[in-house]
Symmetry: C2
Subunit: 262 residues, 2 copies
């Protein structure tokens, strides 16, 4: 039950992970409280018989999770957890479709070419009045409608889309034949809304029922927009758990756009 505070060299678990677990348990058990300084790297090297790089790797896992915070010249300290904020994973719906026991499917409600102006045109960076593909779909699980998906897709006349592909669900497969449209980056925005009458009827819900709205903006290489639209997730069927126990991940992981020279 009690984790022995030493490295098991015969274990298949690498030393840096063992050490990370040991230190994390110090925090979870209260032997180290928020604000406390953990032993210095050289001290950990001595105590556990590890090289400095291995010790640093263990520590960097915990600073990455936000549990520890290192300060040059001073030491490494236990962070305060956030009590409200946190990190959430919204899983990709099409991964859920592939789940073994549940049967997911995609129902294609509408596909058409539309002249686009206003917001959708701006998002796709196409000229106002030119055409784009518009589609509406419902994603079902065990023949229960869960998500309503509505989006505009940039139309590339050199690679016409087949209706069969659209119904197949996985939007990614749709693009994989076309390197110009292969998704490279996605921007998402999550909000809470109430369903309108038409949306509700498609989801077998009532007008005004709560839902998650996920605005979806997909880009191909060189920040070329490919798709813009949104998905409505029935509020009574989805909720999301935080990961990492309220700790704030370190900035390094969250940095965005792949930086330039400077």
């Amino acid at each position: 039950m009690v984790t022995r505070d030493s490295i098991d060299e015969r274990s298949f678990v690498p030393a840096y992970l063992q050490l990370a677990h040991i230190i994390q348990n110090w925090v979870l058990k209260g032997s180290l409280m928020p604000g406390d300084r953990i032993p210095s790297e050289s001290e950990l090297c001595d105590r556990f018989g590890l090289s400095r790089m291995t010790v640093r790797r263990a520590i960097s896992i915990l600073t990455g999770k936000g549990i520890l915070k290192s300060e040059r010249g001073r030491g490494t300290f236990v962070s305060n957890p956030n009590t409200e904020g946190g990190l959430f994973v919204i899983p990709d719906f099409h991964e859920m479709l592939r789940s073994p026991e549940d049967k997911g499917s995609v129902k294609l409600l509408r596909v058409e070419m539309r002249r686009v102006r206003g917001i959708p045109g701006k998002r796709l960076k196409i000229e106002s009045g030119s055409k784009a593909l518009y589609m509406e779909r419902v994603l079902e699980m065990n023949s229960e409608p869960l998500v309503f998906d509505r989006k505009y897709v940039k139309y590339d006349r050199s690679h016409p889309l087949l209706e069969a592909e659209l119904g197949h669900g996985d939007l990614y497969g749709l693009f994989k034949n076309n390197p110009l449209l292969a998704p490279v980056r996605t921007e998402l925005r999550l909000s809470a809304t109430a369903l309108k009458r038409e949306e509700a009827s498609l989801l077998l819900a009532k007008k005004g029922d709560p839902a998650f709205c996920l605005e979806q903006h997909i880009f191909a290489a060189n920040d070329t927009p490919v798709t813009w639209g949104w998905l409505l997730y029935r509020g009574d069927r989805f909720s999301f758990e935080s990961i990492s126990g309220g700790y704030r991940q370190s900035e390094a992981l969250l940095s965005g756009s792949g930086g330039n020279d400077r």
Copy 2:
């Protein structure tokens, strides 16, 4: 404008970060497409004049972000981005309260001792019928009510709470004098709901308006529950952007509970 594909040794930006940016830009610009293999580590060592550990550090940043995926014996490959799923940060409201230009405040509506049974008792792991602190608060920004907070707090008779502390907003400060209650870990669950009449009136909204509901479960050392309750965020005032561009972070960072021996 064009990132030179070489390491600037005079730069203040460390070599591993420069290399990570270079490789990430290969992906963003489409020189490397999803599924492609990137050059092997030894090849990158040669091409950029770096040691293997430095090259690996650059790669591990991108695998951590989910942009690359390494496979032992085969190579390192560019991942497919998720088109729907993503990672979201819900910021800690009390951090926003500290924002320089906006003025945040906390209004304490109710504090009382309550006999607890049912769900709240289970969550706090106290005996049914025993007492806990119950409180309701409204968090305001620029005198506009944005969040309604309602929670049960385990009562520790050896450290009675002062009403002044509760109104002060930062729940963490509430516990910092009491090592037994110092938060070590938080579980959060996000859902979408419609406001009830009483909740709406406190938030100056209408009954049925959409809101985020954040169930909050805070634990001290040894997984002792300290607080359970939920916060309602006005749907018309909050939305959250995904980070990391639709890429799935690697599992290593997300592992939960600090694992044991095995």
